[in-house]
């Protein structure tokens, strides 16, 4: 029995016309779009908090027209996927295992990981479980390590206060401050109201914002933190990616993952190309500079691994 997704509203269809598929991963429904030639190289487009596949809407056309297969899943807890009401279903390890399950059920080989924000560590974490099948990696405003924490994540104004016990329940869950305002207040190009709505309508139901809070609480700050061991496990295995063509694309205007994060990634993955920087863009650079970034990715893939597996 194939699971059913919430119905896509009519107003969203012009902006996000692609068919959404549903698959059960670890007992929960994961939504994804899957466009392009089924035999072409799969490119997994991975978003983070609090977004979903919509963030990559400018990437689907360029990638499929260049001959790639574009797959944009929504993490369990976000987008059109299930929004579990139990926080313990939304750990770092669960997100990784969910993506492994998707890759396994779709039988992906020679895939490319494109990750921003939590899409970085969760995507790489999953790819490391099937590392022989990973052919290229594109990282944007994200991190894969425990040894550098920028000002935003460590600052009580607003971040660590926003997600503190009970305070987080009030602001993030009861009042949906991050899911409803995140992409619009950071937008550099000025997103339309419909676009802002596209990001947050998936959190319309009450008590649906669990992942918005579990994600910040998983950011590893010090040993013993919930996300520490998983991030460390990824960091320790980064040398295995030395053979994987890697591209760093960065919006230095992002006050969350500043350019220092890119520099640290470059130290850990010295073979990586970049960071290629994009101005007029902040944390959600895919939204601010979508077509330009998509073009950079296609160029990089064409010259490194190509569209055939």
């Amino acid at each position: 029995m194939s699971p059913e997704l919430r119905v896509k509203p009519d107003w969203l269809k012009p902006l996000y016309p692609w068919e959404q598929h549903a698959i059960t991963v670890n007992g929960r429904t994961m939504a994804y779009i899957d466009e392009g030639d089924a035999n072409a190289r799969p490119v997994l487009l991975l978003s983070g908090n609090p977004t979903w596949g919509f963030l990559y809407r400018d990437f689907i056309g360029p990638l499929t027209q260049a001959g790639y297969r574009a797959i944009a899943p929504d993490w369990v807890g976000a987008g059109y996927s299930d929004h579990p009401h139990n926080d313990t279903a939304l750990t770092f390890a669960h997100h990784i295992a969910d993506l492994v399950s998707l890759m396994e059920q779709l039988r992906l080989r020679g895939f490319v990981i494109v990750g921003q924000d939590w899409g970085g560590p969760q995507g790489v974490g999953a790819a490391l479980q099937r590392v022989e099948r990973l052919d290229a990696l594109v990282l944007m405003n994200t991190w894969l390590f425990t040894d550098y924490i920028g000002k935003f994540h460590s600052s009580p104004r607003p971040w660590t206060t926003w997600h503190a016990p009970l305070i987080g329940q009030f602001f993030m869950k009861r009042h949906k401050i991050l899911s409803h305002a995140g992409p619009s207040i950071t937008s550099q190009r000025g997103i339309t109201e419909t676009e802002a709505r596209a990001y947050h309508h998936v959190f319309d139901e009450s008590d649906s914002d669990h992942v918005v809070l579990t994600w910040p609480r998983t950011i590893p700050m010090r040993e013993g933190d919930r996300g520490w061991d998983d991030m460390l496990a990824i960091e320790r295995r980064l040398p295995e990616l030395a053979r994987v063509p890697t591209l760093l694309l960065w919006a230095p205007g992002d006050n969350v993952f500043t350019i220092e994060y890119a520099n640290r990634l470059k130290e850990l993955l010295p073979h990586a190309e970049g960071p290629i920087t994009f101005d007029k863009a902040a944390h959600f650079l895919q939204d601010d500079r979508g077509p330009d970034i998509a073009r950079a990715i296609v160029e990089f893939l064409d010259k490194t691994v190509g569209r055939t597996i």
Binding site: M1, V25, N26, G27, N86, T88, A89, T91, A93, H94, I96, A97, D98, V100, S101, E104, Q105, R107, R109, G110, G125, A126, Q129, R130, E132, R133, D229, A233
Partner: protein, 425 residues
């Protein structure tokens, strides 16, 4: 229900997946009370292992009610791996619920099964066995006219799957386990000579040969192969077993030995090993792992042919190795095997193998180690086995024999086994 205390190390390799959570446990105070009595706790966590060898836990909170007031049941899976099949989880959860009903006076345990059955019939949910279309069975005509393999197949059911084996001869069992990507056919040159010594039993692992083949990748794990093989030994009630094993037959068979050593009398590992990820894997194995993990299907006979040393396969023999796999949909077991080998200490299965190795070290079973000198995959594995088994001689090197030593030197190694068993009562 036997509650256990897993080590912190084991838990670090697993993730806790919430399966059932109850915020009103003491809506029925008697249920809350029997849970407290049976677990010995009002708040905290107890663990148990299911029949599938999966770890589960029950977490309780008392909320100051003076009895357990909230409960969550977790399954603990390999940390980053997809869960096992849902019906296995249903079977395990139902096992817990039947136990709970059994200790609760107001609930009849047989009602749990009745309701599960009703729910299955009415809704198509609550599977207690493999759902339709989740298992393939290779048509028997694929196995017509196998050269040198005239044996009648027998079948036992393990966990709802048909597991095939052939047997020949009488006496104490000689259990021969194949590995990747073969089936019992691999042992055909050894069956006639060894059938003179005892009852030769040659099963096909689940996913191979004439055995049933679940289609989903997550149906297979090192753990599940060990479990299925252990159940096979159990259902045939084999005792005083001589285990002959090669490739994955080794790690699987030896873990079964570690779990039920009293059933085994002699061990003959050939071109195999068991590892907990603490030593560097052979480079030959790593390249095989890479090739196999990128493949979407696998040309089994060509793969075997490529690494034979003394002889090649006739076309009929090649067809016999391809017989189990009419198409790539049948190959989930073949394609998944290489990634189960623990190549890091935190690899899924590494911890279980470490425990098995510790157990094997304590055994006095006589062990004969046979090594094909042209095998690139398991070099070093047999030396490790020699260091594990106190009652083993150094591996005997078989000249001009590759990884599939049973093909290259079947009669020769059968003779080694015969002579050694005669000298080793």
């Amino acid at each position: 229900m036997k509650f256990i205390t897993p080590t912190a190390e084991e838990l670090s390799y697993l993730r806790a997946d919430p399966l059932l959570w109850e915020q009103e446990l003491d809506i029925r105070p008697d249920v809350a009370e029997v849970i407290e009595q049976a677990t010995g706790i009002r708040a905290g966590r107890v663990y148990w292992r299911s029949d599938h060898d999966y770890l589960y836990s029950l977490e309780l909170a008392d909320l100051g009610h003076g009895r357990p007031a909230m409960a969550t049941i977790y399954g603990h899976w390999d940390r980053y791996e997809p869960r096992p099949p849902e019906h296995e989880i249903d079977v395990d959860l139902l096992g817990f619920l039947v136990w709970l009903a059994g200790i609760t006076e107001s609930i009849d345990p047989s009602d749990i099964e009745r309701v599960a059955d009703f729910a299955h019939k009415q809704t198509g949910h609550v599977w207690t066995t493999w759902p339709e279309d989740s298992v393939l069975r290779t048509p028997e005509e694929r196995f017509a006219n196998l050269p040198d393999f005239p044996y009648e197949p027998h079948y036992v059911e393990v966990e709802g799957l048909r597991m095939a084996y052939i047997e020949q001869g009488t006496g104490d069992p000689i259990l021969m386990l194949h590995g990747e990507p073969t089936w019992g056919y691999l042992y055909r040159h050894m069956i006639p000579p060894l059938a003179k010594l005892g009852r030769v039993v040659v099963p096909d692992l689940i996913g191979f040969g004439r055995s049933d083949k679940p289609v989903a990748d997550n149906a297979y794990s090192f753990k599940s192969h060990v479990r299925w093989t252990r159940r096979f030994v159990d259902s045939l009630d084999l005792k005083r077993i001589t285990l002959v094993c090669q490739d994955w037959g080794g790690p699987i068979g030896l873990r079964v030995v570690s779990e039920m050593p009293e059933r085994f009398s002699h061990l003959v590992p050939m071109n195999t090993g068991i590892t907990d990820g603490s030593r560097e894997p052979a480079s030959g194995f790593l390249s095989w792992r890479r090739i196999s993990q990128r493949a979407s299907d696998f040309n089994v006979a060509a793969g075997i042919r490529a690494v034979l040393s003394r002889r090649t396969l006739t076309d009929e023999e090649a067809a016999a190795y391809d017989a189990p796999f009419p198409s790539k949909e049948y190959q989930a077991a073949v394609l998944n095997f290489p990634r189960f080998a623990p190549i890091r200490p935190d690899h899924p299965g590494a911890y279980d193998s470490r425990l098995a190795i510790e157990k094997l070290r304590t055994l006095d079973l006589p062990v004969l180690l046979l090594a094909g000198d042209k095998d690139p995959y398991t070099r070093g594995g047999l030396d490790v086995l020699h260091s594990i088994f106190r009652n083993s001689a150094p591996p005997i090197s078989i000249k001009d024999a590759g990884h599939f030593i049973q093909e290259d030197a079947g009669e020769e190694i059968a003779e080694h086994i015969r002579a050694w068993m005669a000298a080793t009562p």
